[in-house]
């Protein structure tokens, strides 16, 4: 089972829909421990991505993802902008020229993406950031692929791990980003960035599960 360019494009469109639906939810999470803009920012960013997609839809997957990254960098702002921008830029660079992705390609893509986020933001697992969703997802995906599972099963595991990682942020004390200023008061709230990361991965799973 491979992932086609068409699926990647549909994934990005689905992400735009999902983020629009969850705009208020993400913003509410950010209001509790941040500055109440994460949903608004991500929604604005993926609206911009939607606007750019027609221009690159007939190019390769690498170009599509790099364009997505650039669109996010120049429209999201905040912490989310450079982080998700870097995530998609690096993902695109990792699969330059490809028209479809094997499970191994997807491992390469995800690893590059997550590494980019870590380099840019310097956060570790446990700091209560999107990294807490992304790193377990990457590990679960890689493990499943190495065990010979198909892409959809591997993605299922990745999404489950991301969800778990996202929920695990609730009891954490934030050490990075705006939430860190709250100290103890950051405990008990789910991290908005971890939540958007989970939603983005979930959208990939849902896209892959659809009839191609």
């Amino acid at each position: 089972m491979i992932v086609t360019k068409d699926q990647i494009v549909r994934w990005l469109r689905r992400v735009a829909d999902v983020l629009e639906e969850n705009k208020e939810y993400l913003t509410k999470l950010d209001a509790a421990i941040g500055d109440a803009d994460h949903g608004i920012n991500m929604d604005r960013g993926f609206k911009r991505v939607l606007g750019q997609l027609p221009k690159v839809e007939d190019k390769d997957i690498g170009s599509i993802l790099k364009t997505t990254g650039m669109a996010l960098i120049s429209s999201v702002g905040g912490a989310g902008g450079p982080l998700y921008g870097t995530l998609f830029m690096r993902a695109g660079m990792a699969v330059d020229g490809k028209q479809e992705l094997t499970p191994e390609d997807l491992v390469t893509l995800l690893r590059a993406a997550v590494d980019g986020v870590i380099q840019r933001g310097k956060a570790e697992v446990g700091d209560k950031t999107m990294v807490d969703a992304l790193v377990p997802a990457l590990q679960a995906f890689q493990k499943a692929v190495e065990a010979g599972e198909s892409v959809d099963i591997a993605l299922e595991r990745a999404v489950a791990a991301a969800e778990e990682g996202m929920k695990a942020t609730i009891p954490m004390l934030a050490k990075k980003g705006r939430a860190s200023y709250l100290g103890e008061r950051s405990i008990g709230h789910q991290d908005p960035g971890a939540t958007s990361s989970y939603l983005i991965l979930k959208a990939l799973l849902d896209t892959v599960r659809e009839a191609p």
């Binding site: 941040g34 500055d35 109440a36 120049s74 905040g78 989310g80 050490k175 200023y181």
Partner: protein, 357 residues
């Protein structure tokens, strides 16, 4: 939502357009990407001083663009750091051959976006340096947090560095001065009410009718402690003593190595205030607090400084770095040496700060 706006998504742009209509002698605006820049930019041979950050803190930064202060300001969406393309395009527009200083408030988003902008500028051959402002004593620990936030000292740094650039300082000199201003400035704020981000439409946080929040961030981030409202004198004392008695603070920041073209980590320590210091004091409205109340705060601050042996040699009382319509106040003290005072007193002509011309 009690605001004079049209559609929330047009708020930043329309506000910029209003500025451009009101101050054609001082500034121009560029839309998409958004930035405000000096009407006479680029000023040949002068270091260009650029700042930026989320909107909602007006007059900062756009209101400080003009002669003797900022060459450009990059406003993001409300409370959202601007994007690298804004800073990069602004840098190209105002670069007069002597390089660009980015004055960056220490928030994760601002730092990352300005770092990307610096990388872009460098790649374009524009000499660049990023200096962080991290002066908010409400944040105690830099190991377990993203470090102190950039607040009131930003305004003072923009004035002083703008004047130094105008006086012919080169990029390294302006950057060194900016770093020194940051290391000598400390700030703390509090809120009586929340503010409402236009795109969200409801207050960022809820405060009871008899509650206030001490150590608030300028983005409506909840502060350090919530308590019953106290008197102006007690509030002033809480803020002023937190600033004056704040111990030395050490942190590691990233600056740009212009020669090598890469980020280097620098350890910086600032020294506490001590008797005999001369200070510039700013008593700043969070947006919704009128100036009459600021003077009540200034009165007490003056007394406290006197008791502590600090002499206020210059002051600003007004709304300079705000959080939309939030009611509340922040106090900033900057230990000022002769060089800083000279540049403080130098003429400035911007929409929000003007003297000597």
């Amino acid at each position: 939502m009690k605001k004079l706006i049209n559609k929330p998504e047009n708020f930043v742009r329309e506000s910029l357009e209003g500025m451009a209509y009101a101050h054609p002698d001082l500034l121009k605006i560029h839309l998409d990407p958004n930035f405000v820049y000096r009407a006479d930019a680029p000023v040949q041979g002068k270091v260009a001083v650029i700042s930026g950050g989320g909107s909602g803190h007006e007059p900062m930064h756009g209101g400080f663009v003009g002669k003797g202060m900022l060459d450009a300001a990059c406003p993001g969406e409300v409370f959202t750091s601007p994007t690298p393309d804004q800073m990069f395009e602004a840098a190209k527009a105002v670069h007069g051959g002597a390089g660009v200083l980015f004055i960056v408030k220490n928030y994760t988003g601002d730092v990352m976006n300005f770092e990307m902008a610096a990388e872009l500028a460098h790649a374009e051959g524009i000499p660049v340096q990023n200096i962080l402002i991290d002066d908010d004593v409400a944040v105690k620990d830099s190991l377990y947090t993203a470090g102190r936030r950039g607040t009131g000292t930003t305004v003072l740094a923009e004035k002083i560095c703008g004047a130094a650039a105008e006086a012919g300082y080169d990029l390294k000199q302006v950057a060194d001065l900016c770093r020194r201003v940051n290391l000598n400035g400390r700030c703390m704020g509090m809120a009586l009410t929340s503010c409402t981000v236009p795109a969200k439409g409801t207050p960022t946080f809820d405060l009871g009718d008899d509650e206030m929040e001490i150590g608030i961030g300028i983005h409506g981030e909840p502060g350090r402690e919530r308590m019953k409202i106290k008197s102006a004198d007690e509030i002033t004392e809480m803020l002023a003593l937190a600033i004056i008695e704040d111990p030395a603070y050490t942190r590691t920041v990233r600056e740009w190595d212009m020669e090598k073209g890469e980020w280097v980590e620098v350890e910086l320590t600032d020294e506490p205030f001590k008797e005999g210091d001369r200070v510039i004091a700013m008593v700043n409205s969070m947006g919704g607090t009128p100036v009459s109340e600021l003077y009540v705060v200034y009165r007490k601050l003056h007394e406290i400084c006197e008791k502590k042996g600090l002499t206020i040699v210059r002051n600003l009382v007004g709304a300079y770095i705000t959080s939309l319509e939030m009611q509340g106040v922040s106090i900033t003290l900057l230990r000022a040496d002769d060089e800083m005072l000279r540049f403080w007193d130098a003429p400035v002509h911007t929409p929000a700060l003007r003297w000597g011309m």
